[in-house]
Symmetry: C2
Subunit: 235 residues, 2 copies
Protein backbone atom coordinates (compact mmCIF):
# COMPACT_ATOMS: atom_id res chain seq x y z
CA UNK A 1 0.00 0.00 0.00
CA UNK A 2 0.92 3.62 -0.47
CA UNK A 3 0.16 5.50 2.73
CA UNK A 4 0.00 9.30 2.81
CA UNK A 5 0.26 10.96 6.22
CA UNK A 6 -0.70 14.62 6.53
CA UNK A 7 0.99 15.74 9.73
CA UNK A 8 0.03 18.92 11.58
CA UNK A 9 1.97 19.83 14.71
CA UNK A 10 4.33 22.77 15.31
CA UNK A 11 6.82 20.78 17.45
CA UNK A 12 8.76 17.82 15.98
CA UNK A 13 9.57 16.58 19.51
CA UNK A 14 5.86 16.36 20.37
CA UNK A 15 4.05 13.06 20.79
CA UNK A 16 2.39 13.75 17.44
CA UNK A 17 5.91 13.77 15.99
CA UNK A 18 6.68 10.48 17.71
CA UNK A 19 3.49 8.92 16.34
CA UNK A 20 4.30 9.90 12.75
CA UNK A 21 7.92 8.74 12.97
CA UNK A 22 6.69 5.47 14.49
CA UNK A 23 4.11 5.12 11.72
CA UNK A 24 6.78 5.53 9.06
CA UNK A 25 8.93 2.81 10.64
CA UNK A 26 6.05 0.39 11.19
CA UNK A 27 4.57 0.83 7.72
CA UNK A 28 7.94 0.56 5.97
CA UNK A 29 8.73 -2.58 7.95
CA UNK A 30 5.47 -4.01 6.62
CA UNK A 31 6.59 -3.21 3.08
CA UNK A 32 4.35 -0.21 2.55
CA UNK A 33 5.41 3.02 0.89
CA UNK A 34 4.99 6.10 3.09
CA UNK A 35 4.68 9.74 2.09
CA UNK A 36 4.48 12.46 4.78
CA UNK A 37 3.40 16.06 4.34
CA UNK A 38 4.64 17.81 7.49
CA UNK A 39 2.55 20.96 7.14
CA UNK A 40 4.41 23.10 9.69
CA UNK A 41 7.81 22.06 8.28
CA UNK A 42 6.55 22.82 4.74
CA UNK A 43 5.29 26.25 5.77
CA UNK A 44 1.92 25.26 4.36
CA UNK A 45 -0.39 28.20 3.61
CA UNK A 46 -3.87 27.35 4.94
CA UNK A 47 -5.70 30.42 3.60
CA UNK A 48 -7.98 29.44 0.74
CA UNK A 49 -8.38 32.14 -1.90
CA UNK A 50 -6.89 33.39 -5.16
CA UNK A 51 -3.54 31.97 -4.11
CA UNK A 52 -4.99 28.52 -4.81
CA UNK A 53 -4.67 29.17 -8.52
CA UNK A 54 -2.32 30.29 -11.26
CA UNK A 55 -5.38 30.93 -13.43
CA UNK A 56 -8.20 33.45 -13.06
CA UNK A 57 -11.74 32.73 -14.23
CA UNK A 58 -13.28 35.95 -12.95
CA UNK A 59 -11.05 38.81 -11.82
CA UNK A 60 -13.94 40.90 -10.49
CA UNK A 61 -15.69 38.50 -8.14
CA UNK A 62 -14.02 35.56 -6.44
CA UNK A 63 -16.22 32.46 -6.48
CA UNK A 64 -14.14 29.58 -5.28
CA UNK A 65 -15.93 26.66 -6.95
CA UNK A 66 -15.99 28.49 -10.30
CA UNK A 67 -12.25 29.18 -9.98
CA UNK A 68 -11.69 25.53 -9.07
CA UNK A 69 -13.60 24.32 -12.13
CA UNK A 70 -11.61 26.70 -14.32
CA UNK A 71 -8.30 25.66 -12.78
CA UNK A 72 -9.13 22.00 -13.25
CA UNK A 73 -9.74 22.56 -16.96
CA UNK A 74 -6.59 24.67 -17.43
CA UNK A 75 -4.04 23.03 -15.11
CA UNK A 76 -4.32 26.12 -13.00
CA UNK A 77 -3.91 24.89 -9.42
CA UNK A 78 -1.02 26.46 -7.55
CA UNK A 79 2.02 24.15 -7.33
CA UNK A 80 1.66 23.63 -3.56
CA UNK A 81 -1.91 22.40 -4.05
CA UNK A 82 -1.18 20.30 -7.15
CA UNK A 83 1.61 18.50 -5.28
CA UNK A 84 -0.79 17.54 -2.48
CA UNK A 85 -3.47 16.50 -4.97
CA UNK A 86 -0.97 14.19 -6.64
CA UNK A 87 -0.17 12.58 -3.27
CA UNK A 88 -3.86 12.03 -2.53
CA UNK A 89 -4.47 10.55 -5.97
CA UNK A 90 -1.51 8.20 -5.63
CA UNK A 91 -2.23 6.90 -2.13
CA UNK A 92 -4.21 3.86 -1.03
CA UNK A 93 -4.64 5.20 2.49
CA UNK A 94 -4.71 8.73 3.90
CA UNK A 95 -3.93 9.50 7.55
CA UNK A 96 -4.40 12.84 9.30
CA UNK A 97 -2.07 13.13 12.32
CA UNK A 98 -2.95 16.06 14.56
CA UNK A 99 -3.63 17.33 18.07
CA UNK A 100 -7.33 17.99 18.70
CA UNK A 101 -7.50 21.77 19.04
CA UNK A 102 -10.89 23.20 19.90
CA UNK A 103 -12.60 19.92 19.08
CA UNK A 104 -11.29 20.02 15.52
CA UNK A 105 -8.20 20.12 13.34
CA UNK A 106 -5.50 22.77 13.76
CA UNK A 107 -6.12 25.56 11.24
CA UNK A 108 -3.10 24.54 9.16
CA UNK A 109 -4.72 21.13 8.53
CA UNK A 110 -8.20 22.59 8.00
CA UNK A 111 -6.60 24.78 5.35
CA UNK A 112 -5.10 21.72 3.68
CA UNK A 113 -8.64 20.33 3.45
CA UNK A 114 -10.08 23.68 2.27
CA UNK A 115 -7.49 24.12 -0.49
CA UNK A 116 -6.54 20.61 -1.66
CA UNK A 117 -9.91 18.88 -1.73
CA UNK A 118 -11.17 21.14 -4.50
CA UNK A 119 -14.46 20.79 -6.34
CA UNK A 120 -13.93 18.71 -9.46
CA UNK A 121 -10.86 17.06 -7.98
CA UNK A 122 -12.23 15.54 -4.76
CA UNK A 123 -16.00 15.65 -5.39
CA UNK A 124 -18.60 16.93 -7.82
CA UNK A 125 -20.84 15.77 -10.63
CA UNK A 126 -22.61 13.26 -8.42
CA UNK A 127 -19.33 11.81 -7.15
CA UNK A 128 -19.53 11.79 -3.34
CA UNK A 129 -20.16 9.41 -0.45
CA UNK A 130 -20.38 5.83 -1.74
CA UNK A 131 -20.07 7.17 -5.30
CA UNK A 132 -17.15 9.35 -4.24
CA UNK A 133 -13.98 10.11 -6.14
CA UNK A 134 -11.79 8.33 -3.58
CA UNK A 135 -13.90 5.21 -3.07
CA UNK A 136 -11.65 2.22 -2.56
CA UNK A 137 -9.13 4.33 -0.65
CA UNK A 138 -9.02 4.19 3.14
CA UNK A 139 -8.64 7.08 5.58
CA UNK A 140 -7.98 7.31 9.30
CA UNK A 141 -7.56 10.03 11.89
CA UNK A 142 -4.75 9.69 14.42
CA UNK A 143 -5.07 12.34 17.07
CA UNK A 144 -3.91 13.37 20.49
CA UNK A 145 -6.15 15.09 23.01
CA UNK A 146 -5.67 17.31 26.02
CA UNK A 147 -8.59 15.85 27.94
CA UNK A 148 -8.88 12.29 29.18
CA UNK A 149 -11.03 9.45 27.96
CA UNK A 150 -13.91 9.93 30.43
CA UNK A 151 -14.15 13.60 29.44
CA UNK A 152 -14.59 12.52 25.81
CA UNK A 153 -17.03 9.66 26.53
CA UNK A 154 -20.74 9.71 25.79
CA UNK A 155 -21.33 10.47 29.48
CA UNK A 156 -18.49 12.98 29.59
CA UNK A 157 -18.53 16.77 29.56
CA UNK A 158 -17.35 16.90 25.93
CA UNK A 159 -19.83 14.32 24.74
CA UNK A 160 -18.71 11.33 22.67
CA UNK A 161 -15.55 12.28 20.78
CA UNK A 162 -16.98 10.54 17.70
CA UNK A 163 -19.53 13.38 17.63
CA UNK A 164 -16.73 15.96 17.75
CA UNK A 165 -14.97 14.11 14.91
CA UNK A 166 -18.12 13.68 12.79
CA UNK A 167 -17.54 16.79 10.66
CA UNK A 168 -14.09 15.40 9.71
CA UNK A 169 -14.86 11.69 9.38
CA UNK A 170 -18.19 12.11 7.63
CA UNK A 171 -18.17 15.70 6.38
CA UNK A 172 -14.69 15.57 4.82
CA UNK A 173 -13.46 12.01 4.35
CA UNK A 174 -16.66 10.08 3.67
CA UNK A 175 -17.98 12.99 1.60
CA UNK A 176 -15.07 12.33 -0.80
CA UNK A 177 -15.71 8.58 -0.82
CA UNK A 178 -13.02 7.29 1.52
CA UNK A 179 -13.67 4.21 3.62
CA UNK A 180 -13.18 5.82 7.02
CA UNK A 181 -11.58 3.68 9.71
CA UNK A 182 -12.18 4.20 13.43
CA UNK A 183 -9.77 6.86 14.71
CA UNK A 184 -6.72 6.10 16.81
CA UNK A 185 -6.88 8.43 19.79
CA UNK A 186 -4.04 9.11 22.22
CA UNK A 187 -6.06 10.58 25.10
CA UNK A 188 -4.36 13.14 27.36
CA UNK A 189 -1.08 12.44 25.57
CA UNK A 190 0.89 15.09 27.46
CA UNK A 191 -0.32 14.02 30.90
CA UNK A 192 -0.26 10.21 30.91
CA UNK A 193 2.74 8.14 32.03
CA UNK A 194 5.63 7.21 29.70
CA UNK A 195 4.29 3.63 29.88
CA UNK A 196 0.88 4.76 28.66
CA UNK A 197 2.47 6.74 25.84
CA UNK A 198 4.44 3.63 24.85
CA UNK A 199 1.12 1.82 24.88
CA UNK A 200 -0.34 4.40 22.49
CA UNK A 201 2.60 3.87 20.10
CA UNK A 202 2.01 0.12 20.21
CA UNK A 203 -1.77 0.33 19.75
CA UNK A 204 -1.20 2.73 16.84
CA UNK A 205 1.31 0.31 15.30
CA UNK A 206 -1.30 -2.42 15.56
CA UNK A 207 -3.84 -0.20 13.79
CA UNK A 208 -1.30 0.50 11.04
CA UNK A 209 -0.52 -3.19 10.58
CA UNK A 210 -4.25 -3.82 10.05
CA UNK A 211 -4.87 -0.73 7.92
CA UNK A 212 -6.00 -2.82 4.95
CA UNK A 213 -8.30 -5.11 6.91
CA UNK A 214 -9.93 -3.04 9.69
CA UNK A 215 -13.66 -2.74 8.98
CA UNK A 216 -14.58 0.88 8.17
CA UNK A 217 -17.21 2.91 9.97
CA UNK A 218 -20.66 2.30 8.55
CA UNK A 219 -22.32 5.29 6.89
CA UNK A 220 -25.53 5.55 4.87
CA UNK A 221 -25.57 5.08 1.11
CA UNK A 222 -26.75 7.76 -1.30
CA UNK A 223 -29.41 5.22 -2.33
CA UNK A 224 -31.16 5.87 0.96
CA UNK A 225 -31.84 9.53 0.09
CA UNK A 226 -34.19 11.24 -2.33
CA UNK A 227 -33.31 14.00 -4.79
CA UNK A 228 -33.47 16.65 -2.04
CA UNK A 229 -31.01 14.54 0.00
CA UNK A 230 -33.69 13.64 2.53
CA UNK A 231 -33.91 10.07 3.77
CA UNK A 232 -36.51 8.09 1.82
CA UNK A 233 -39.42 6.84 3.85
CA UNK A 234 -39.33 3.05 4.06
CA UNK A 235 -42.06 1.06 2.34
Amino acid sequence: MKVFIVHAHPEPQSFNGALTRHAQQVLQAEGHEVQVSDLYAMGWNPVSGRGNFTTVANADVYKQQAEEAHALAHHGFAPDIQAEMDKVSACDALIFQFPLWWFSMPAILKGWVDRVLASGFAYGGGRWHDRGVFRGKRAMLSLTTGGGETYFSAEGLSGDIMMQLYPINYGVLRFCGFDVLPPHISFAAARVSPEQRAGYLESYAQRLRTLATTPPLVYPSLEEFDETFRRRVAG
Copy 2:
Protein backbone atom coordinates in the same frame (compact mmCIF):
# COMPACT_ATOMS: atom_id res chain seq x y z
CA MET B 1 -24.18 46.61 23.52
CA LYS B 2 -20.74 46.25 21.99
CA VAL B 3 -20.92 43.68 19.22
CA PHE B 4 -17.77 42.11 17.77
CA ILE B 5 -18.10 40.39 14.38
CA VAL B 6 -15.29 38.12 13.22
CA HIS B 7 -15.79 37.89 9.47
CA ALA B 8 -14.18 35.21 7.31
CA HIS B 9 -14.79 35.30 3.57
CA PRO B 10 -12.31 36.00 0.75
CA GLU B 11 -14.78 38.00 -1.39
CA PRO B 12 -16.29 41.29 -0.12
CA GLN B 13 -19.07 41.06 -2.75
CA SER B 14 -20.17 37.67 -1.39
CA PHE B 15 -23.41 37.17 0.51
CA ASN B 16 -21.29 36.83 3.64
CA GLY B 17 -20.07 40.34 2.93
CA ALA B 18 -23.65 41.54 2.49
CA LEU B 19 -24.66 39.94 5.81
CA THR B 20 -21.87 41.66 7.73
CA ARG B 21 -22.51 45.06 6.14
CA HIS B 22 -26.21 44.64 6.89
CA ALA B 23 -25.40 43.66 10.48
CA GLN B 24 -23.33 46.80 10.95
CA GLN B 25 -26.18 48.99 9.69
CA VAL B 26 -28.88 47.23 11.71
CA LEU B 27 -26.88 47.17 14.94
CA GLN B 28 -25.77 50.79 14.64
CA ALA B 29 -29.36 51.84 13.93
CA GLU B 30 -30.29 50.14 17.21
CA GLY B 31 -27.62 52.17 19.00
CA HIS B 32 -25.10 49.36 19.41
CA GLU B 33 -21.37 49.73 18.87
CA VAL B 34 -19.97 47.39 16.20
CA GLN B 35 -16.43 46.17 15.70
CA VAL B 36 -15.55 43.99 12.71
CA SER B 37 -12.41 41.91 12.19
CA ASP B 38 -12.42 41.10 8.48
CA LEU B 39 -9.84 38.32 8.60
CA TYR B 40 -9.10 38.13 4.86
CA ALA B 41 -8.82 41.92 4.58
CA MET B 42 -6.51 41.96 7.62
CA GLY B 43 -4.29 39.25 6.16
CA TRP B 44 -4.82 37.30 9.37
CA ASN B 45 -2.24 34.58 9.99
CA PRO B 46 -4.09 31.43 11.11
CA VAL B 47 -1.04 29.29 11.87
CA SER B 48 -0.66 28.83 15.61
CA GLY B 49 2.94 28.52 16.77
CA ARG B 50 5.88 30.59 18.02
CA GLY B 51 4.54 33.54 16.01
CA ASN B 52 1.80 33.84 18.64
CA PHE B 53 4.33 35.31 21.06
CA THR B 54 6.99 37.95 21.49
CA THR B 55 8.27 35.98 24.49
CA VAL B 56 9.86 32.54 24.68
CA ALA B 57 9.40 30.26 27.68
CA ASN B 58 11.26 27.28 26.25
CA ALA B 59 13.38 27.70 23.13
CA ASP B 60 14.09 23.97 22.81
CA VAL B 61 10.63 22.45 22.86
CA TYR B 62 7.46 24.29 21.84
CA LYS B 63 4.58 23.57 24.21
CA GLN B 64 1.79 25.91 23.35
CA GLN B 65 -0.04 26.12 26.68
CA ALA B 66 3.24 26.70 28.54
CA GLU B 67 4.12 29.48 26.10
CA GLU B 68 0.64 30.93 26.54
CA ALA B 69 0.96 30.95 30.34
CA HIS B 70 4.38 32.61 30.05
CA ALA B 71 3.11 35.19 27.55
CA LEU B 72 0.15 36.01 29.76
CA ALA B 73 2.47 36.74 32.69
CA HIS B 74 4.91 38.80 30.60
CA HIS B 75 2.64 40.67 28.15
CA GLY B 76 4.11 38.47 25.46
CA PHE B 77 1.27 37.87 23.01
CA ALA B 78 2.00 39.03 19.47
CA PRO B 79 0.32 42.36 18.64
CA ASP B 80 -2.12 40.79 16.17
CA ILE B 81 -3.36 38.40 18.87
CA GLN B 82 -3.42 40.98 21.66
CA ALA B 83 -5.58 43.28 19.49
CA GLU B 84 -8.15 40.50 18.98
CA MET B 85 -8.08 39.58 22.66
CA ASP B 86 -8.85 43.19 23.55
CA LYS B 87 -11.86 43.15 21.20
CA VAL B 88 -13.17 39.94 22.76
CA SER B 89 -12.72 41.30 26.27
CA ALA B 90 -14.50 44.53 25.39
CA CYS B 91 -17.51 43.03 23.62
CA ASP B 92 -20.90 42.03 24.98
CA ALA B 93 -21.66 39.81 22.00
CA LEU B 94 -19.42 37.92 19.59
CA ILE B 95 -20.55 36.87 16.11
CA PHE B 96 -18.71 34.57 13.71
CA GLN B 97 -19.73 35.26 10.09
CA PHE B 98 -18.52 32.57 7.70
CA PRO B 99 -19.37 30.17 4.89
CA LEU B 100 -19.58 26.56 6.08
CA TRP B 101 -16.59 24.91 4.42
CA TRP B 102 -16.25 21.18 4.97
CA PHE B 103 -18.80 21.25 7.76
CA SER B 104 -16.73 23.70 9.75
CA MET B 105 -15.12 27.14 9.77
CA PRO B 106 -12.76 28.28 7.02
CA ALA B 107 -9.16 27.71 8.18
CA ILE B 108 -8.56 31.46 8.59
CA LEU B 109 -11.33 31.57 11.24
CA LYS B 110 -10.25 28.32 12.87
CA GLY B 111 -6.82 29.90 13.20
CA TRP B 112 -8.36 32.93 14.89
CA VAL B 113 -9.85 30.54 17.44
CA ASP B 114 -6.60 28.56 17.78
CA ARG B 115 -4.46 31.65 18.38
CA VAL B 116 -6.70 34.20 20.13
CA LEU B 117 -8.56 31.99 22.61
CA ALA B 118 -5.38 31.18 24.49
CA SER B 119 -5.13 29.25 27.72
CA GLY B 120 -5.18 31.67 30.64
CA PHE B 121 -6.96 34.29 28.56
CA ALA B 122 -10.10 32.44 27.42
CA TYR B 123 -10.16 29.47 29.80
CA GLY B 124 -8.15 27.73 32.50
CA GLY B 125 -7.94 27.36 36.26
CA GLY B 126 -11.45 25.93 36.46
CA ARG B 127 -12.91 28.73 34.36
CA TRP B 128 -14.93 27.09 31.58
CA HIS B 129 -18.52 26.29 30.64
CA ASP B 130 -20.92 27.92 33.12
CA ARG B 131 -17.89 29.08 35.16
CA GLY B 132 -16.23 30.33 32.00
CA VAL B 133 -14.20 33.49 31.49
CA PHE B 134 -16.76 34.98 29.12
CA ARG B 135 -19.92 34.15 31.04
CA GLY B 136 -22.44 36.94 30.64
CA LYS B 137 -21.32 37.56 27.06
CA ARG B 138 -23.39 36.22 24.17
CA ALA B 139 -22.17 34.53 21.00
CA MET B 140 -23.83 33.56 17.73
CA LEU B 141 -22.82 31.92 14.48
CA SER B 142 -24.07 33.44 11.22
CA LEU B 143 -23.24 31.16 8.34
CA THR B 144 -24.00 30.44 4.73
CA THR B 145 -24.12 26.93 3.32
CA GLY B 146 -23.74 25.37 -0.10
CA GLY B 147 -26.34 22.67 0.52
CA GLY B 148 -30.04 23.24 1.12
CA GLU B 149 -32.09 22.94 4.28
CA THR B 150 -33.31 19.37 3.70
CA TYR B 151 -29.73 18.20 3.15
CA PHE B 152 -28.81 19.65 6.56
CA SER B 153 -31.90 18.35 8.37
CA ALA B 154 -31.94 15.48 10.86
CA GLU B 155 -33.29 13.26 8.07
CA GLY B 156 -30.87 14.70 5.52
CA LEU B 157 -27.66 13.31 4.10
CA SER B 158 -25.52 15.67 6.19
CA GLY B 159 -27.39 14.97 9.38
CA ASP B 160 -28.70 17.82 11.56
CA ILE B 161 -26.54 20.89 10.98
CA MET B 162 -26.59 21.50 14.75
CA MET B 163 -24.47 18.35 15.01
CA GLN B 164 -21.98 19.72 12.47
CA LEU B 165 -21.86 22.99 14.44
CA TYR B 166 -21.53 21.32 17.85
CA PRO B 167 -17.71 21.51 17.95
CA ILE B 168 -17.97 25.29 17.43
CA ASN B 169 -21.03 26.12 19.52
CA TYR B 170 -20.19 23.83 22.42
CA GLY B 171 -16.49 23.03 21.96
CA VAL B 172 -15.36 26.62 21.39
CA LEU B 173 -17.98 29.14 22.49
CA ARG B 174 -19.67 27.41 25.42
CA PHE B 175 -16.29 26.04 26.55
CA CYS B 176 -15.24 29.67 27.13
CA GLY B 177 -18.47 30.50 28.94
CA PHE B 178 -20.44 32.35 26.27
CA ASP B 179 -24.21 32.10 26.22
CA VAL B 180 -24.57 30.60 22.73
CA LEU B 181 -27.57 31.70 20.70
CA PRO B 182 -29.13 29.54 17.98
CA PRO B 183 -27.24 30.12 14.72
CA HIS B 184 -28.58 32.15 11.84
CA ILE B 185 -28.18 30.00 8.74
CA SER B 186 -28.51 31.20 5.15
CA PHE B 187 -28.99 27.85 3.43
CA ALA B 188 -27.80 27.46 -0.18
CA ALA B 189 -27.04 31.19 -0.22
CA ALA B 190 -25.54 31.16 -3.72
CA ARG B 191 -28.38 29.20 -5.29
CA VAL B 192 -31.59 30.65 -3.86
CA SER B 193 -33.53 33.50 -5.45
CA PRO B 194 -32.76 37.20 -4.80
CA GLU B 195 -36.04 37.30 -2.84
CA GLN B 196 -34.89 34.47 -0.61
CA ARG B 197 -31.55 36.19 -0.04
CA ALA B 198 -33.43 39.38 0.90
CA GLY B 199 -35.39 37.21 3.31
CA TYR B 200 -32.15 35.97 4.87
CA LEU B 201 -31.00 39.58 5.38
CA GLU B 202 -34.29 40.41 7.06
CA SER B 203 -34.35 37.32 9.29
CA TYR B 204 -30.74 38.06 10.26
CA ALA B 205 -31.68 41.65 11.08
CA GLN B 206 -34.45 40.34 13.30
CA ARG B 207 -31.98 38.07 15.10
CA LEU B 208 -29.63 41.03 15.60
CA ARG B 209 -32.42 43.21 16.99
CA THR B 210 -33.15 40.49 19.57
CA LEU B 211 -29.51 39.68 20.31
CA ALA B 212 -29.87 40.65 23.97
CA THR B 213 -33.11 38.77 24.57
CA THR B 214 -33.03 35.56 22.49
CA PRO B 215 -32.86 32.57 24.84
CA PRO B 216 -29.50 30.80 24.52
CA LEU B 217 -29.05 27.12 23.71
CA VAL B 218 -29.27 24.97 26.83
CA TYR B 219 -26.08 23.12 27.79
CA PRO B 220 -25.22 21.11 30.88
CA SER B 221 -23.67 22.70 33.94
CA LEU B 222 -20.30 21.67 35.35
CA GLU B 223 -22.24 20.75 38.50
CA GLU B 224 -23.62 17.75 36.65
CA PHE B 225 -20.16 16.18 36.23
CA ASP B 226 -17.76 14.51 38.64
CA GLU B 227 -14.02 15.20 38.98
CA THR B 228 -13.25 13.01 35.94
CA PHE B 229 -15.79 15.07 33.93
CA ARG B 230 -18.19 12.16 33.75
CA ARG B 231 -21.89 12.80 34.31
CA ARG B 232 -22.88 12.07 37.93
CA VAL B 233 -25.35 9.28 38.39
CA ALA B 234 -28.66 10.66 39.66
CA GLY B 235 -29.85 9.75 43.14
